[in-house]
Protein backbone atom coordinates (compact mmCIF):
# COMPACT_ATOMS: atom_id res chain seq x y z
CA UNK A 1 0.00 0.00 0.00
CA UNK A 2 2.85 2.27 0.73
CA UNK A 3 3.81 1.74 -2.88
CA UNK A 4 0.43 2.80 -4.09
CA UNK A 5 0.71 6.06 -2.25
CA UNK A 6 3.57 7.14 -4.39
CA UNK A 7 1.55 7.80 -7.45
CA UNK A 8 -0.71 10.73 -6.75
CA UNK A 9 0.75 14.18 -6.79
CA UNK A 10 2.32 14.29 -10.22
CA UNK A 11 -0.87 15.90 -11.30
CA UNK A 12 0.65 19.10 -9.99
CA UNK A 13 3.28 19.06 -12.66
CA UNK A 14 0.68 19.04 -15.39
CA UNK A 15 -0.84 22.06 -13.81
CA UNK A 16 2.16 24.26 -14.25
CA UNK A 17 0.96 25.21 -17.71
CA UNK A 18 -2.48 25.95 -16.47
CA UNK A 19 -1.07 28.09 -13.72
CA UNK A 20 0.88 30.16 -16.13
CA UNK A 21 -2.41 30.97 -17.77
CA UNK A 22 -4.03 31.80 -14.50
CA UNK A 23 -1.25 34.14 -13.69
CA UNK A 24 -1.41 36.47 -16.64
CA UNK A 25 -2.38 39.27 -14.29
CA UNK A 26 0.40 38.00 -12.09
CA UNK A 27 2.88 39.65 -9.79
CA UNK A 28 6.02 39.74 -11.92
CA UNK A 29 6.68 42.94 -13.70
CA UNK A 30 9.71 44.01 -15.63
CA UNK A 31 12.86 44.91 -13.75
CA UNK A 32 12.76 48.60 -14.72
CA UNK A 33 9.19 48.88 -13.51
CA UNK A 34 10.06 47.26 -10.21
CA UNK A 35 13.14 49.40 -9.73
CA UNK A 36 11.13 52.48 -10.47
CA UNK A 37 8.41 51.57 -8.04
CA UNK A 38 11.07 51.01 -5.39
CA UNK A 39 12.87 54.23 -6.19
CA UNK A 40 10.20 56.85 -6.75
CA UNK A 41 9.02 57.18 -3.16
CA UNK A 42 12.59 57.73 -2.03
CA UNK A 43 13.24 60.18 -4.82
CA UNK A 44 10.05 61.97 -3.94
CA UNK A 45 11.08 62.15 -0.29
CA UNK A 46 14.45 63.56 -1.30
CA UNK A 47 12.84 66.08 -3.61
CA UNK A 48 10.45 67.20 -0.89
CA UNK A 49 13.27 67.49 1.64
CA UNK A 50 15.42 69.53 -0.73
CA UNK A 51 12.44 71.72 -1.60
CA UNK A 52 11.66 72.41 2.03
CA UNK A 53 15.28 73.18 2.72
CA UNK A 54 15.42 75.66 -0.16
CA UNK A 55 12.25 77.31 1.10
CA UNK A 56 13.71 77.74 4.57
CA UNK A 57 16.81 79.28 3.06
CA UNK A 58 14.78 81.53 0.78
CA UNK A 59 12.74 82.70 3.74
CA UNK A 60 15.92 84.39 4.92
CA UNK A 61 15.68 82.87 8.36
CA UNK A 62 19.47 82.61 8.63
CA UNK A 63 22.33 84.14 6.74
CA UNK A 64 23.49 81.98 3.84
CA UNK A 65 26.88 81.35 5.41
CA UNK A 66 25.16 79.98 8.49
CA UNK A 67 22.64 77.89 6.65
CA UNK A 68 23.56 77.42 3.01
CA UNK A 69 20.85 76.30 0.64
CA UNK A 70 20.83 73.43 -1.82
CA UNK A 71 21.99 75.77 -4.55
CA UNK A 72 25.20 76.37 -2.63
CA UNK A 73 25.62 72.84 -1.34
CA UNK A 74 24.92 70.82 -4.45
CA UNK A 75 27.74 72.33 -6.52
CA UNK A 76 30.09 71.77 -3.57
CA UNK A 77 28.76 68.24 -3.29
CA UNK A 78 29.57 67.75 -6.93
CA UNK A 79 33.06 69.14 -6.46
CA UNK A 80 33.57 66.84 -3.50
CA UNK A 81 32.44 63.65 -5.18
CA UNK A 82 34.32 64.32 -8.39
CA UNK A 83 37.54 64.64 -6.45
CA UNK A 84 39.70 61.54 -6.58
CA UNK A 85 41.19 62.03 -3.14
CA UNK A 86 37.69 62.03 -1.74
CA UNK A 87 37.08 58.57 -3.05
CA UNK A 88 40.36 57.45 -1.58
CA UNK A 89 39.08 58.75 1.76
CA UNK A 90 35.77 56.94 1.36
CA UNK A 91 37.62 53.81 0.33
CA UNK A 92 39.85 53.92 3.40
CA UNK A 93 36.89 54.43 5.70
CA UNK A 94 34.86 51.70 4.07
CA UNK A 95 37.78 49.33 4.36
CA UNK A 96 38.12 50.10 8.03
CA UNK A 97 34.38 49.75 8.53
CA UNK A 98 34.26 46.43 6.72
CA UNK A 99 37.20 44.96 8.59
CA UNK A 100 35.99 46.27 11.93
CA UNK A 101 32.48 45.05 11.29
CA UNK A 102 33.70 41.62 10.25
CA UNK A 103 35.78 41.29 13.41
CA UNK A 104 32.82 42.56 15.44
CA UNK A 105 30.57 39.93 13.88
CA UNK A 106 32.93 37.15 14.87
CA UNK A 107 33.43 38.43 18.39
CA UNK A 108 29.83 39.49 18.92
CA UNK A 109 28.49 36.17 17.69
CA UNK A 110 30.87 34.22 19.89
CA UNK A 111 29.97 36.27 22.96
CA UNK A 112 26.28 36.13 22.16
CA UNK A 113 26.43 32.37 21.69
CA UNK A 114 28.15 31.80 25.00
CA UNK A 115 26.09 34.26 27.00
CA UNK A 116 22.75 33.20 25.59
CA UNK A 117 23.12 29.55 26.40
CA UNK A 118 24.66 29.59 29.82
CA UNK A 119 22.75 30.96 32.75
CA UNK A 120 25.93 31.73 34.65
CA UNK A 121 27.59 33.52 31.75
CA UNK A 122 24.41 35.48 31.24
CA UNK A 123 24.29 36.60 34.80
CA UNK A 124 27.97 37.41 34.76
CA UNK A 125 28.17 39.24 31.45
CA UNK A 126 24.64 39.76 30.14
CA UNK A 127 24.14 43.24 31.47
CA UNK A 128 27.76 44.19 30.95
CA UNK A 129 27.14 43.93 27.22
CA UNK A 130 24.63 46.77 27.27
CA UNK A 131 26.83 48.55 29.76
CA UNK A 132 29.73 48.44 27.33
CA UNK A 133 27.46 49.59 24.55
CA UNK A 134 26.62 52.78 26.37
CA UNK A 135 30.31 53.58 26.79
CA UNK A 136 31.19 56.42 24.39
CA UNK A 137 34.04 55.78 21.98
CA UNK A 138 36.12 58.50 23.57
CA UNK A 139 36.34 56.39 26.74
CA UNK A 140 38.14 53.70 24.77
CA UNK A 141 40.63 55.96 23.07
CA UNK A 142 43.32 55.88 25.77
CA UNK A 143 43.06 52.13 26.01
CA UNK A 144 43.13 51.78 22.24
CA UNK A 145 46.30 53.85 22.01
CA UNK A 146 47.83 52.03 24.93
CA UNK A 147 47.23 48.63 23.37
CA UNK A 148 47.85 49.37 19.75
CA UNK A 149 49.78 52.62 19.68
CA UNK A 150 49.13 54.62 16.60
CA UNK A 151 48.08 51.91 14.22
CA UNK A 152 45.02 50.99 12.26
CA UNK A 153 44.40 48.44 14.99
CA UNK A 154 43.65 51.22 17.44
CA UNK A 155 40.84 52.46 15.21
CA UNK A 156 39.68 48.90 14.65
CA UNK A 157 39.57 48.34 18.38
CA UNK A 158 37.20 51.24 18.90
CA UNK A 159 35.00 50.10 16.03
CA UNK A 160 34.80 46.55 17.32
CA UNK A 161 33.98 47.70 20.83
CA UNK A 162 31.21 49.79 19.35
CA UNK A 163 29.63 47.13 17.18
CA UNK A 164 30.16 43.80 18.91
CA UNK A 165 27.73 44.40 21.81
CA UNK A 166 24.85 45.10 19.43
CA UNK A 167 25.57 41.96 17.49
CA UNK A 168 25.77 39.90 20.67
CA UNK A 169 22.56 41.45 21.96
CA UNK A 170 20.79 40.71 18.69
CA UNK A 171 21.78 37.08 18.87
CA UNK A 172 20.79 36.83 22.53
CA UNK A 173 17.38 38.34 21.86
CA UNK A 174 16.93 35.92 18.97
CA UNK A 175 17.84 32.95 21.11
CA UNK A 176 15.55 34.12 23.87
CA UNK A 177 12.59 34.33 21.56
CA UNK A 178 13.16 31.10 19.70
CA UNK A 179 9.83 29.28 19.97
CA UNK A 180 10.25 26.66 22.70
CA UNK A 181 8.52 24.05 20.60
CA UNK A 182 11.35 24.27 18.08
CA UNK A 183 13.91 23.91 20.85
CA UNK A 184 12.06 20.83 22.00
CA UNK A 185 12.00 19.45 18.50
CA UNK A 186 15.73 20.04 18.33
CA UNK A 187 16.32 18.31 21.61
CA UNK A 188 14.32 15.31 20.49
CA UNK A 189 16.38 15.19 17.32
CA UNK A 190 19.47 15.00 19.47
CA UNK A 191 20.87 18.36 18.38
CA UNK A 192 23.59 19.35 20.80
CA UNK A 193 26.58 21.66 21.02
CA UNK A 194 27.75 23.09 17.72
CA UNK A 195 25.15 21.22 15.69
CA UNK A 196 22.44 22.74 17.87
CA UNK A 197 23.78 26.17 16.98
CA UNK A 198 24.27 25.48 13.35
CA UNK A 199 20.97 23.79 12.67
CA UNK A 200 18.60 25.35 15.13
CA UNK A 201 19.62 28.30 17.24
CA UNK A 202 21.38 30.40 14.62
CA UNK A 203 18.72 30.02 11.92
CA UNK A 204 15.94 30.53 14.45
CA UNK A 205 17.60 33.71 15.69
CA UNK A 206 18.39 35.04 12.26
CA UNK A 207 15.74 37.77 12.09
CA UNK A 208 16.81 39.24 15.38
CA UNK A 209 20.44 38.67 14.49
CA UNK A 210 20.03 40.67 11.28
CA UNK A 211 18.41 43.45 13.29
CA UNK A 212 21.40 43.32 15.63
CA UNK A 213 23.78 43.49 12.69
CA UNK A 214 22.00 46.56 11.43
CA UNK A 215 22.34 48.31 14.76
CA UNK A 216 25.90 47.06 15.04
CA UNK A 217 26.71 48.59 11.69
CA UNK A 218 25.38 51.94 12.85
CA UNK A 219 27.46 51.73 16.00
CA UNK A 220 30.51 50.64 14.06
CA UNK A 221 30.17 53.52 11.68
CA UNK A 222 29.68 56.10 14.38
CA UNK A 223 32.58 54.79 16.39
CA UNK A 224 34.65 54.85 13.25
CA UNK A 225 33.85 58.49 12.56
CA UNK A 226 35.14 59.32 16.02
CA UNK A 227 37.99 56.83 15.91
CA UNK A 228 39.35 58.20 12.67
CA UNK A 229 40.18 61.37 14.53
CA UNK A 230 42.17 59.45 17.09
CA UNK A 231 45.26 59.64 15.02
CA UNK A 232 45.96 60.38 11.44
CA UNK A 233 48.63 58.09 10.21
CA UNK A 234 50.74 59.68 7.57
CA UNK A 235 48.56 62.26 5.89
CA UNK A 236 45.69 60.04 4.84
CA UNK A 237 42.20 61.41 4.65
CA UNK A 238 39.12 59.56 5.73
CA UNK A 239 35.44 60.37 5.98
CA UNK A 240 35.89 61.06 9.68
CA UNK A 241 38.65 63.57 9.16
CA UNK A 242 36.82 65.16 6.24
CA UNK A 243 33.81 65.74 8.43
CA UNK A 244 35.94 67.00 11.27
CA UNK A 245 37.95 69.42 9.19
CA UNK A 246 34.88 70.67 7.38
CA UNK A 247 33.49 71.61 10.75
CA UNK A 248 36.83 72.98 11.99
CA UNK A 249 36.95 75.24 8.97
CA UNK A 250 33.26 76.14 9.36
CA UNK A 251 32.83 74.97 5.82
CA UNK A 252 29.13 74.19 6.08
CA UNK A 253 28.67 73.39 2.39
CA UNK A 254 31.41 70.84 2.56
CA UNK A 255 30.16 69.46 5.82
CA UNK A 256 26.67 68.93 4.46
CA UNK A 257 28.20 67.28 1.39
CA UNK A 258 30.06 64.81 3.56
CA UNK A 259 26.89 64.20 5.55
CA UNK A 260 25.05 63.44 2.34
CA UNK A 261 27.72 60.93 1.43
CA UNK A 262 27.46 59.32 4.87
CA UNK A 263 23.71 59.17 4.48
CA UNK A 264 23.99 57.58 1.05
CA UNK A 265 26.40 54.95 2.31
CA UNK A 266 24.09 54.27 5.24
CA UNK A 267 21.12 53.91 2.93
CA UNK A 268 22.98 51.57 0.60
CA UNK A 269 24.13 49.37 3.45
CA UNK A 270 20.61 49.33 4.82
CA UNK A 271 19.40 48.14 1.45
CA UNK A 272 21.76 45.20 1.79
CA UNK A 273 20.38 44.37 5.22
CA UNK A 274 16.89 44.89 3.87
CA UNK A 275 17.60 42.37 1.14
CA UNK A 276 18.77 39.80 3.69
CA UNK A 277 15.72 40.54 5.75
CA UNK A 278 13.26 40.18 2.90
CA UNK A 279 14.85 36.95 1.78
CA UNK A 280 14.45 35.62 5.28
CA UNK A 281 10.86 36.65 5.56
CA UNK A 282 10.08 35.24 2.15
CA UNK A 283 11.55 31.90 3.11
CA UNK A 284 9.92 31.75 6.47
CA UNK A 285 6.58 32.78 5.11
CA UNK A 286 6.41 35.86 7.28
CA UNK A 287 5.18 38.39 4.80
CA UNK A 288 3.66 41.53 6.12
CA UNK A 289 0.50 42.52 4.44
CA UNK A 290 1.28 46.14 3.80
CA UNK A 291 -0.97 47.85 1.33
Amino acid sequence: MAVETRRTPDVDRQLAGLDALQLTAGTRRGLPARLWSAAWPMLAAVAIAVGAWELVVLSGWKEPWVLPGPRQVLPEFWRVVTDGSFWAAVGLTMRRAAVGFAVAIVIGTAIGAVVSRSKIARRAFGSLITGLQTMPSIAWFPLAILLFQLSESAILFVVVLGAAPSIANGLIAGVDYTPPILLRAGKVMGLRGLALYRHLILPASLPSFVAGLKQGWAFAWRSLMAGELLVIIGDTQSVGTLLHFARELSDTERMISVMIVILIIGVLVDQLFGLADRTLRERWGVNTETD
Binding site: W65, S85, F141, L146, I232, I233, D235, Q237, F245
Partner: protein, 320 residues
Protein backbone atom coordinates in the same frame (compact mmCIF):
# COMPACT_ATOMS: atom_id res chain seq x y z
CA UNK B 1 54.39 46.60 21.97
CA UNK B 2 57.45 47.63 23.92
CA UNK B 3 59.90 47.45 21.08
CA UNK B 4 59.47 51.10 20.24
CA UNK B 5 62.91 51.65 21.73
CA UNK B 6 64.28 50.65 18.34
CA UNK B 7 62.77 53.79 16.97
CA UNK B 8 65.23 55.68 19.16
CA UNK B 9 68.20 54.62 17.16
CA UNK B 10 66.32 54.51 13.91
CA UNK B 11 63.30 56.58 13.06
CA UNK B 12 62.05 59.27 15.41
CA UNK B 13 58.30 59.30 15.93
CA UNK B 14 57.08 62.87 15.98
CA UNK B 15 53.60 64.17 16.72
CA UNK B 16 51.95 67.48 15.92
CA UNK B 17 48.53 69.02 15.17
CA UNK B 18 47.26 70.22 11.81
CA UNK B 19 47.10 73.76 13.10
CA UNK B 20 48.74 77.12 12.33
CA UNK B 21 50.26 77.31 15.81
CA UNK B 22 52.11 74.14 14.87
CA UNK B 23 53.59 75.76 11.79
CA UNK B 24 57.07 74.80 12.97
CA UNK B 25 56.22 71.13 12.58
CA UNK B 26 54.31 71.63 9.35
CA UNK B 27 57.09 73.58 7.70
CA UNK B 28 59.79 71.28 9.04
CA UNK B 29 58.07 68.24 7.61
CA UNK B 30 57.15 69.90 4.35
CA UNK B 31 60.63 71.17 3.63
CA UNK B 32 62.38 68.05 4.90
CA UNK B 33 64.33 69.91 7.53
CA UNK B 34 63.70 67.27 10.18
CA UNK B 35 64.78 64.57 7.78
CA UNK B 36 67.93 66.46 6.99
CA UNK B 37 68.97 66.69 10.63
CA UNK B 38 67.80 63.29 11.78
CA UNK B 39 69.16 61.38 8.84
CA UNK B 40 65.77 59.87 8.03
CA UNK B 41 62.40 61.50 7.84
CA UNK B 42 60.62 61.21 11.18
CA UNK B 43 57.58 59.02 11.36
CA UNK B 44 54.81 61.54 11.89
CA UNK B 45 51.48 61.23 13.64
CA UNK B 46 48.85 63.91 13.52
CA UNK B 47 46.56 64.52 16.46
CA UNK B 48 43.46 66.56 16.82
CA UNK B 49 43.67 67.20 20.52
CA UNK B 50 46.17 67.28 23.34
CA UNK B 51 44.94 64.21 25.20
CA UNK B 52 45.53 61.83 22.26
CA UNK B 53 49.00 63.25 21.87
CA UNK B 54 49.79 62.72 25.54
CA UNK B 55 48.29 59.24 25.49
CA UNK B 56 50.34 58.37 22.45
CA UNK B 57 53.48 59.73 24.05
CA UNK B 58 52.89 57.69 27.18
CA UNK B 59 52.10 54.59 25.13
CA UNK B 60 55.39 55.11 23.27
CA UNK B 61 53.48 55.64 20.06
CA UNK B 62 55.42 58.89 19.59
CA UNK B 63 58.72 59.99 21.09
CA UNK B 64 58.24 63.72 20.90
CA UNK B 65 55.37 65.97 20.03
CA UNK B 66 54.50 69.60 19.55
CA UNK B 67 51.77 70.49 21.99
CA UNK B 68 50.11 73.34 23.86
CA UNK B 69 50.93 74.37 27.43
CA UNK B 70 47.92 72.84 29.18
CA UNK B 71 48.28 69.24 28.08
CA UNK B 72 51.99 69.48 28.88
CA UNK B 73 51.25 70.61 32.42
CA UNK B 74 48.68 67.84 32.82
CA UNK B 75 51.05 65.20 31.54
CA UNK B 76 53.74 66.46 33.86
CA UNK B 77 51.40 66.52 36.86
CA UNK B 78 49.92 63.09 36.18
CA UNK B 79 53.26 61.38 35.75
CA UNK B 80 54.54 63.12 38.87
CA UNK B 81 57.27 64.72 36.86
CA UNK B 82 58.53 61.45 35.42
CA UNK B 83 56.84 61.30 32.04
CA UNK B 84 57.87 64.28 29.93
CA UNK B 85 60.23 67.18 29.46
CA UNK B 86 59.74 70.43 27.57
CA UNK B 87 62.80 70.72 25.39
CA UNK B 88 62.04 73.66 23.19
CA UNK B 89 59.58 76.39 22.39
CA UNK B 90 57.84 76.69 19.05
CA UNK B 91 55.34 79.53 18.98
CA UNK B 92 54.23 82.37 21.15
CA UNK B 93 51.39 84.83 21.17
CA UNK B 94 48.33 84.71 18.99
CA UNK B 95 45.28 84.84 21.23
CA UNK B 96 42.75 87.59 21.53
CA UNK B 97 39.34 88.57 22.78
CA UNK B 98 37.19 89.11 19.71
CA UNK B 99 33.75 90.61 20.19
CA UNK B 100 30.77 91.85 18.24
CA UNK B 101 31.40 95.27 16.71
CA UNK B 102 28.78 96.94 18.90
CA UNK B 103 30.86 96.20 21.98
CA UNK B 104 33.18 99.13 22.27
CA UNK B 105 34.82 98.70 25.63
CA UNK B 106 35.42 96.10 28.25
CA UNK B 107 32.65 97.57 30.37
CA UNK B 108 30.17 96.86 27.56
CA UNK B 109 30.75 93.20 28.24
CA UNK B 110 28.55 93.37 31.30
CA UNK B 111 25.74 90.85 30.93
CA UNK B 112 27.26 89.37 27.77
CA UNK B 113 28.36 85.87 26.97
CA UNK B 114 31.87 85.12 25.86
CA UNK B 115 33.37 81.80 24.90
CA UNK B 116 36.71 80.29 25.83
CA UNK B 117 38.18 77.04 24.50
CA UNK B 118 37.99 75.08 27.72
CA UNK B 119 37.46 75.62 31.42
CA UNK B 120 40.85 76.26 33.00
CA UNK B 121 42.95 76.42 29.85
CA UNK B 122 45.33 79.28 29.11
CA UNK B 123 42.80 81.49 27.36
CA UNK B 124 40.12 80.75 29.92
CA UNK B 125 42.40 81.72 32.76
CA UNK B 126 43.60 84.78 30.88
CA UNK B 127 40.04 85.89 30.23
CA UNK B 128 38.99 85.48 33.83
CA UNK B 129 42.03 87.22 35.29
CA UNK B 130 41.76 90.04 32.78
CA UNK B 131 38.06 90.59 33.50
CA UNK B 132 38.82 90.52 37.20
CA UNK B 133 41.53 93.11 36.73
CA UNK B 134 38.90 95.25 34.96
CA UNK B 135 36.52 94.92 37.89
CA UNK B 136 34.16 92.46 36.22
CA UNK B 137 33.24 89.18 37.84
CA UNK B 138 33.20 85.97 35.81
CA UNK B 139 32.56 83.05 38.07
CA UNK B 140 33.46 79.47 37.45
CA UNK B 141 29.81 78.44 37.45
CA UNK B 142 29.03 80.74 34.55
CA UNK B 143 27.46 83.45 36.64
CA UNK B 144 28.75 86.99 37.23
CA UNK B 145 28.95 90.16 35.20
CA UNK B 146 30.25 88.28 32.20
CA UNK B 147 29.10 84.78 31.41
CA UNK B 148 31.91 82.58 30.25
CA UNK B 149 30.91 79.52 28.23
CA UNK B 150 33.67 77.07 27.52
CA UNK B 151 33.21 75.38 24.14
CA UNK B 152 35.15 73.89 21.30
CA UNK B 153 36.76 76.45 19.01
CA UNK B 154 35.01 75.31 15.84
CA UNK B 155 31.71 75.55 17.69
CA UNK B 156 32.64 79.05 18.79
CA UNK B 157 32.74 80.17 15.18
CA UNK B 158 29.24 78.73 14.65
CA UNK B 159 27.75 80.28 17.75
CA UNK B 160 29.41 83.65 17.13
CA UNK B 161 28.07 83.76 13.59
CA UNK B 162 24.62 83.00 14.92
CA UNK B 163 24.84 85.63 17.60
CA UNK B 164 24.47 83.15 20.45
CA UNK B 165 27.66 84.45 22.01
CA UNK B 166 28.94 88.01 22.06
CA UNK B 167 32.62 87.35 22.01
CA UNK B 168 35.34 84.80 22.45
CA UNK B 169 38.83 84.62 23.87
CA UNK B 170 40.47 82.20 21.48
CA UNK B 171 43.84 81.37 19.98
CA UNK B 172 44.83 81.67 16.32
CA UNK B 173 43.62 81.00 13.73
CA UNK B 174 40.22 81.25 15.36
CA UNK B 175 40.76 84.83 16.50
CA UNK B 176 41.55 85.91 12.96
CA UNK B 177 38.71 83.84 11.55
CA UNK B 178 36.21 85.45 13.92
CA UNK B 179 37.35 88.79 12.63
CA UNK B 180 37.61 87.96 8.95
CA UNK B 181 34.80 85.45 8.49
CA UNK B 182 32.31 86.37 11.15
CA UNK B 183 32.70 90.13 11.35
CA UNK B 184 34.15 90.28 14.85
CA UNK B 185 36.35 92.99 16.30
CA UNK B 186 39.48 92.54 18.36
CA UNK B 187 38.88 94.02 21.79
CA UNK B 188 41.93 92.71 23.64
CA UNK B 189 45.11 91.23 22.28
CA UNK B 190 46.49 88.82 24.86
CA UNK B 191 49.99 89.97 23.91
CA UNK B 192 49.34 93.22 25.70
CA UNK B 193 48.85 91.43 28.97
CA UNK B 194 52.22 89.70 29.04
CA UNK B 195 55.66 91.12 29.70
CA UNK B 196 57.47 91.49 26.39
CA UNK B 197 54.26 90.49 24.62
CA UNK B 198 55.28 86.86 24.70
CA UNK B 199 53.43 83.87 26.04
CA UNK B 200 53.75 80.26 25.09
CA UNK B 201 51.20 78.73 22.74
CA UNK B 202 53.12 75.75 21.36
CA UNK B 203 56.21 73.95 22.53
CA UNK B 204 58.00 70.70 21.97
CA UNK B 205 57.91 67.93 24.54
CA UNK B 206 59.72 64.64 24.61
CA UNK B 207 59.23 61.46 26.60
CA UNK B 208 61.60 61.53 29.55
CA UNK B 209 63.00 58.03 29.11
CA UNK B 210 63.46 58.60 25.40
CA UNK B 211 65.42 61.73 26.07
CA UNK B 212 67.65 59.89 28.49
CA UNK B 213 68.33 57.04 26.11
CA UNK B 214 68.68 59.02 22.90
CA UNK B 215 70.23 62.38 23.72
CA UNK B 216 71.77 62.56 20.27
CA UNK B 217 68.45 62.16 18.48
CA UNK B 218 66.89 64.77 20.69
CA UNK B 219 69.72 67.15 20.00
CA UNK B 220 69.20 66.69 16.28
CA UNK B 221 65.50 67.28 16.68
CA UNK B 222 66.18 70.50 18.54
CA UNK B 223 68.67 71.61 15.96
CA UNK B 224 66.07 71.00 13.28
CA UNK B 225 63.49 72.97 15.24
CA UNK B 226 65.89 75.87 15.54
CA UNK B 227 66.52 75.80 11.82
CA UNK B 228 62.85 75.64 10.94
CA UNK B 229 62.10 78.55 13.24
CA UNK B 230 64.80 80.59 11.57
CA UNK B 231 63.47 79.65 8.18
CA UNK B 232 59.92 80.70 9.04
CA UNK B 233 61.05 84.02 10.35
CA UNK B 234 63.28 84.61 7.34
CA UNK B 235 60.86 83.44 4.65
CA UNK B 236 57.33 83.90 5.97
CA UNK B 237 55.74 83.63 2.51
CA UNK B 238 57.34 80.30 1.72
CA UNK B 239 56.55 79.11 5.20
CA UNK B 240 52.89 79.94 4.68
CA UNK B 241 52.93 77.99 1.46
CA UNK B 242 54.39 75.00 3.29
CA UNK B 243 51.79 75.29 6.02
CA UNK B 244 48.94 75.36 3.55
CA UNK B 245 50.50 72.51 1.67
CA UNK B 246 50.46 70.27 4.69
CA UNK B 247 47.02 71.38 5.90
CA UNK B 248 45.55 70.63 2.49
CA UNK B 249 46.95 67.15 2.47
CA UNK B 250 45.36 66.47 5.82
CA UNK B 251 42.10 68.33 5.70
CA UNK B 252 41.50 68.25 1.98
CA UNK B 253 41.23 72.02 1.74
CA UNK B 254 43.65 74.93 2.08
CA UNK B 255 43.09 77.64 4.62
CA UNK B 256 42.24 81.06 3.17
CA UNK B 257 45.24 83.31 2.53
CA UNK B 258 43.67 86.11 4.48
CA UNK B 259 43.35 84.06 7.63
CA UNK B 260 46.82 82.68 7.19
CA UNK B 261 48.30 86.14 6.85
CA UNK B 262 46.46 87.49 9.87
CA UNK B 263 47.35 84.52 12.00
CA UNK B 264 51.01 84.68 11.04
CA UNK B 265 50.97 88.33 11.94
CA UNK B 266 49.88 87.58 15.47
CA UNK B 267 51.99 84.53 16.18
CA UNK B 268 55.68 84.75 16.93
CA UNK B 269 57.69 81.68 16.02
CA UNK B 270 60.47 81.23 18.49
CA UNK B 271 62.32 78.41 20.16
CA UNK B 272 62.07 80.29 23.43
CA UNK B 273 59.42 78.38 25.41
CA UNK B 274 58.67 81.54 27.39
CA UNK B 275 58.86 79.55 30.59
CA UNK B 276 57.79 82.46 32.71
CA UNK B 277 54.39 82.66 30.98
CA UNK B 278 53.77 78.98 31.66
CA UNK B 279 54.63 79.33 35.32
CA UNK B 280 52.67 82.56 35.76
CA UNK B 281 49.73 81.09 33.90
CA UNK B 282 49.73 78.08 36.16
CA UNK B 283 49.85 80.31 39.24
CA UNK B 284 46.95 82.38 37.91
CA UNK B 285 44.95 79.24 37.30
CA UNK B 286 45.66 78.02 40.78
CA UNK B 287 44.55 81.39 42.09
CA UNK B 288 41.19 81.21 40.30
CA UNK B 289 40.80 77.64 41.53
CA UNK B 290 41.02 76.09 38.10
CA UNK B 291 44.18 74.11 38.66
CA UNK B 292 45.22 71.96 41.55
CA UNK B 293 48.59 73.11 42.91
CA UNK B 294 51.36 71.49 40.92
CA UNK B 295 55.11 71.75 41.24
CA UNK B 296 56.43 72.56 37.78
CA UNK B 297 60.04 72.54 38.90
CA UNK B 298 62.00 70.50 36.38
CA UNK B 299 59.44 70.44 33.60
CA UNK B 300 61.92 72.27 31.39
CA UNK B 301 65.09 70.63 30.21
CA UNK B 302 66.64 73.27 28.01
CA UNK B 303 70.29 72.28 28.25
CA UNK B 304 70.37 70.76 24.78
CA UNK B 305 68.49 73.67 23.30
CA UNK B 306 70.89 76.11 24.88
CA UNK B 307 73.85 74.11 23.59
CA UNK B 308 72.43 74.26 20.11
CA UNK B 309 71.65 77.95 20.39
CA UNK B 310 75.09 78.64 21.78
CA UNK B 311 76.74 76.74 18.98
CA UNK B 312 74.75 78.83 16.53
CA UNK B 313 75.77 81.95 18.36
CA UNK B 314 72.26 82.80 19.51
CA UNK B 315 70.85 84.04 22.71
CA UNK B 316 70.16 81.35 25.26
CA UNK B 317 66.78 80.86 26.92
CA UNK B 318 65.58 80.62 30.51
CA UNK B 319 63.75 77.79 32.25
CA UNK B 320 62.20 80.19 34.73
Amino acid sequence: GGDSEEGGSGQLKLGFFPNITHATALVGVDRGIFAKHLGTAPQTATFNAGPSAVEALFAKGVDATFIGPNPAINAWAKSKGQGIRIISGAASGGAALVVKPEIKSVQDLKGKKIATPQLGNTQDVAARSYLKSQGLTANKDGSGDVKIVPQENSQTIETFEQGTIDGAWVPEPFASRLILEAGGKKLVDEKDLWPGGKFVVTHLIVRADFAEENPETVRKLIAATVEVTDFINANPEEAKKSVNNQLTRLSGKPISGEVLDAAFQNITFTTDPVASSLLTGAKNAEAVGLLEPVDLNGIYDLTLLNEVLKAAGKEQVQAK
